[in-house]
């Protein structure tokens, strides 16, 4: 150890890095499980290359006695599984980073050599090396040995007695190694928290539970990272719930199939990413024309085109807002945290049904793949069902006359009437027409729904600024966690954050929040500031500064602390 001492106080930032297929995720999920069992909050996020084997990937795990839902740039402890690990992480590995691993693999002097593989081989097989590594970290953290030992046994029990026994042995050998470092490495995360009643899940999990609570019973998709994670989650849930899950031949078929399902009375969900969503454009327009609901989850990744397939960005807001040709209502929702993922995905089905319109839920790779500990979601008693009517023999699908533009939605085969929907301009009964008067009435009907939806919009949420604010940050989607933590670090009462769970059409009353600020700063994971343009355009207010990131990673808390305080200072000087 060359007499070097490491002291880590407060939440611990741990990174595991190595090639794809080396077991990074096994180590991460075991550590997360054990840390939560040990009554700590856990946050995990991963970055990975678009390949199945090799390359270099990493996962960041934060273990804390307080809730945590953001990534940091800092690395306290790095578990390096390959020679690429340290160079891959670049300047994030600093002088104060403790690097653990096999020196001959990692090829670095300034590290603690831990012979994971040879210990594992002594126990019976090199495949147990991950359990040795987990044990080493847990030993360093001094989590209670007995409790962790039984948790490891529980994890491996499904794989048989021999596998469980050997992994426990490997874990304990690692634990011993970690404990021995106590002299040189001091770790004090803080007192354990009470997290036993809380749940630990990914963004994709939260969205899937929200969809089920929203009455979703039909899922169709074409696999595309990172949207696939929700498809997989729904497929898993389909064993327990009545959900029809179908992988369709292409995204055009996906969106049209979802419209067919809604037309017949299901609540269908589509999940995709930007490229797939672009293919759905015509069907989105169809949803607007035939006034048939549609719910599309778009897990964003960096574009244009194939871009960075496995990384994150918030670059598709413009696409969502402008999706589909012609004028019609579409609603864009974007969860900022797990609770909002559950809430908004559930709400998406009701909004789509109520306004007979397409609703897009925008997340991103960072959002769907990250997980952390959060209070268990309250599942409301009310069972959500379509607000459809039983048709009478004179039923007309597009009956005019309601000021909100809504006409009762019937289902084919339910009632005496017939339900006719047409992508051509149509009359009240659904028959094709080119009559200018009818055209004007139908345009007005569709646009009335935009105003109706605005008045039902979920208002933006203000964080901080209880006694007023000088600088107002604007953000949407997954920047919420990093921004909130940056504000906690900054500890300034003159900066507030306005986050938009309902992004489009912009809810009424946003201008009032903006008017109270001296400086407006947008924080977005894209290259141009798409929310800033949207808010600026709708309110006529100039957004003074934009803190943007489009390199494929989510903001780290440190860079936001720096960016926010610099923007606030500049705003003050101006």
């Amino acid at each position: 150890m060359y007499g070097k001492k490491y002291v880590f106080r407060g939440d611990l930032a741990l990174v595991i890095a190595g090639g794809a297929g080396q077991g990074i995720q096994t180590i991460e999920s075991m550590l997360a499980f054990l840390a939560k069992r040990g009554s700590y909050h856990v946050f995990a996020t991963k970055e990975y290359m678009s390949r199945v084997r090799g390359g270099c990937n990493s996962t960041e795990l934060r273990i804390s006695s307080a809730p945590v839902s953001a990534r940091v740039e800092r690395i306290d402890i790095l578990v390096a599984l390959s020679g690429d690990a340290v160079p891959h992480l670049g300047s994030r590995v600093g002088d104060r980073t403790l690097v653990l691993g096999e020196r001959e693999v990692v090829g670095r002097e300034d590290m603690v050599d831990m012979p994971f593989t040879s210990i594992a081989s002594e126990i019976g097989s090199p495949i147990y090396s991950n359990s040795v590594a987990v044990g080493a970290v847990v030993g360093l953290l001094a989590l209670e040995r007995g409790l962790c030992e039984s948790a490891v046994r529980e994890l491996f029990a499904p794989k048989g007695e021999a596998v469980a026994r050997d992994n426990v042995a490997a874990f304990l050998r690692g634990y011993e190694l970690g404990s021995k470092l106590a002299g040189e490495v001091q770790v004090d995360i803080g007192p354990p928290a009470d997290v036993a009643g809380e749940i630990m899940l990914t963004g994709a999990d939260a969205l899937s539970l929200g969809a089920i609570a929203g009455g979703c019973n039909y899922v169709c998709a074409y696999p595309m990272s990172p949207g696939t994670s929700l498809l997989t989650a729904m497929a898993e849930h389909s064993r327990k719930f009545d959900i029809l899950v179908e992988q369709v031949e292409d995204e055009i078929g996906v969106a049209n199939m979802a419209l067919g399902a809604w037309y017949a009375g299901a609540r269908a969900l589509v999940t995709t990413s930007g490229g797939g969503f672009a293919l759905m454009g015509e069907a989105v327009s169809l949803s607007g024309m035939i006034e048939t609901p549609l719910v599309v989850h778009v897990a964003q990744r960096p574009g244009p085109a194939t871009g960075l397939p496995t990384r994150t960005e918030q670059g598709d807001l413009d696409l969502a807002v402008h999706a589909g040709h012609g004028d019609f209502l579409k609603v864009v929702l974007a969860p900022g945290d797990l609770a909002e993922g559950f809430e908004l995905m559930r709400a998406a089905f009701d909004i789509a049904d109520r306004f007979q319109s397409p609703v897009f839920v925008l997340s991103d790779q960072y959002y769907v793949d990250s997980y952390y500990v959060t209070p268990a979601f309250e599942v409301p008693d009310r069972i959500l069902k379509n607000a459809t009517v039983r048709t009478s023999s004179d039923y007309r699908r597009y009956a005019l006359g309601s000021p909100d533009g809504l006409s009762p939605r019937g289902l084919p085969g339910v009632g005496e009437g017939i339900v006719c929907v047409d992508s051509d301009e149509h009359d009240e009964s659904g028959y094709i027409t080119e009559d200018a008067g009818t055209r004007r009435a139908m345009v007005a009907k569709r646009l009335a729904k935009v105003e109706a939806a605005k008045s039902a919009a979920i208002p933006p949420r203000l964080y901080g600024g209880e006694k007023g604010y000088r600088t107002l940050l604007l953000g949407w989607g997954s920047v919420k966690g990093p921004v909130l933590e940056a504000l906690r670090v900054l500890g300034r009462d003159d900066i507030a954050f306005l986050h938009f769970p309902w992004v489009f059409p912009l809810p009424p009353g946003v201008g009032a929040y903006l008017d109270r600020a001296g400086t407006l700063v947008a924080v977005e994971g894209n290259a141009t500031g798409q929310l800033a343009d949207l808010v600026g355009g709708a309110t006529g207010r100039r957004i003074d500064r934009r803190i943007l990131k489009s390199d494929g990673a989510q903001f780290g808390v440190e860079e936001l602390v720096e960016g926010i305080s610099a923007s606030a200072e500049r705003g003050r000087r101006e």
Binding site: S238, L244, E249, A261, F377, G415
Partner: protein
């Protein structure tokens, strides 16, 4: 007074050209629906875009007239969500074989209990005379000015290759014969494809009704429509083209029958409710 519930009380302004084969196909369709006794409220016509795809506008039933080429994903979902409905997807050669070709291939794989009627006039009518996937090689059009070079699409051979359980070819001018084929197609459990030859009186001066009559023949009464290999060989025959039911088989399970949601419970998906208790258990299971 109308004698067919699928017809309208009042006269409709139909957008087809006078003399179009679509009128005859409509007569066959209305006759088939009446004779089968399909309850009017239980029929859904699904279509894309094109002159043929306007058919639902002229049948007095529920319909979903969506996007060009996209009728089959829509129809598949409608039938899966409400299996008690009779679902017919109808369109032209451009709609089903061109723009919607990928969906047709995968509908053949899934085998939903749908009936697909394709008006095959070997030309694009609505867009005024360009080549269709079924246009014969060498045909000159305003776009294919040097003549069509590509091999024409053979829908019936494709469908038999994909083991579709009901594959037929009809001729619009034979209203009775087409109606009888339609009835068998609608009755078939699983996907059925009927390719219906028809003239385009406005844009196809080559493949006229006289041409179709001269270049087709009826399958003989002793033809065995259950022999897939023989049916495939028959489907490859061109000039003259065989007319009739080329292939039929009840071997395959329909898409709906294969769906796990219907394995133990036949209740239509749209009539079921969420088990909130089970959802609460799943949420708490993530502790």
């Amino acid at each position: 007074m109308r004698d067919n519930a699928f017809d309208f009380e009042e006269k409709r302004d139909i957008a087809w050209c006078p003399g179009c084969g679509d009128f005859a196909i409509r007569n066959s369709l209305l006759g088939a629906l009446k004779e089968l006794g399909v309850p009017r409220e239980k029929l859904v016509m699904v279509s894309g875009i094109g002159q043929a795809a306007k058919m639902p506008q002229y049948v007095n039933s529920s319909f979903f007239n969506g996007l060009h080429g996209r009728s089959l994903p829509v129809a598949t979902a409608v039938k899966a969500v409400a299996p008690d409905l009779t679902v017919i997807a109808e369109g032209g050669d451009g709609d089903m074989y061109g723009e919607g070709g990928n969906h047709l291939l995968h509908a053949c794989r899934r085998n939903p209990d749908l009936t697909v009627f394709v008006h095959d006039n070997m030309i694009y009518g609505l867009t005024k005379g360009q080549a269709a996937p079924t246009t014969r090689q060498g045909t000159h059009t305003p776009v294919q000015v040097f003549g069509v070079a590509a091999e024409p699409f053979n829908p019936v051979a494709m469908a038999i290759a994909m083991n579709v359980g009901f594959v037929a070819r009809a001729l619009s001018g034979d209203i009775q014969g087409t109606k009888e084929i339609m009835k068998r197609a609608i009755r078939h459990k699983g996907l059925s494809l009927v390719d219906i030859f028809q003239p385009c009186v406005s844009f196809n001066k080559l493949n006229t009704m006289q041409w179709f009559k001269a270049n087709t023949y009826a399958l003989p009464p002793d033809y065995d429509s259950h022999d897939r290999a023989a049916a495939f060989a028959k489907a490859l025959e061109e000039i003259p083209f065989p007319l009739g039911v080329l292939y039929e088989s009840e071997d395959r399970r329909s898409f709906e029958e294969t769906l796990p949601v219907y394995r133990e419970d036949g209740t239509a998906l749209r009539e079921r409710s969420l088990d909130i208790g089970a959802l609460r258990d799943v949420v708490l299971g993530m502790r």
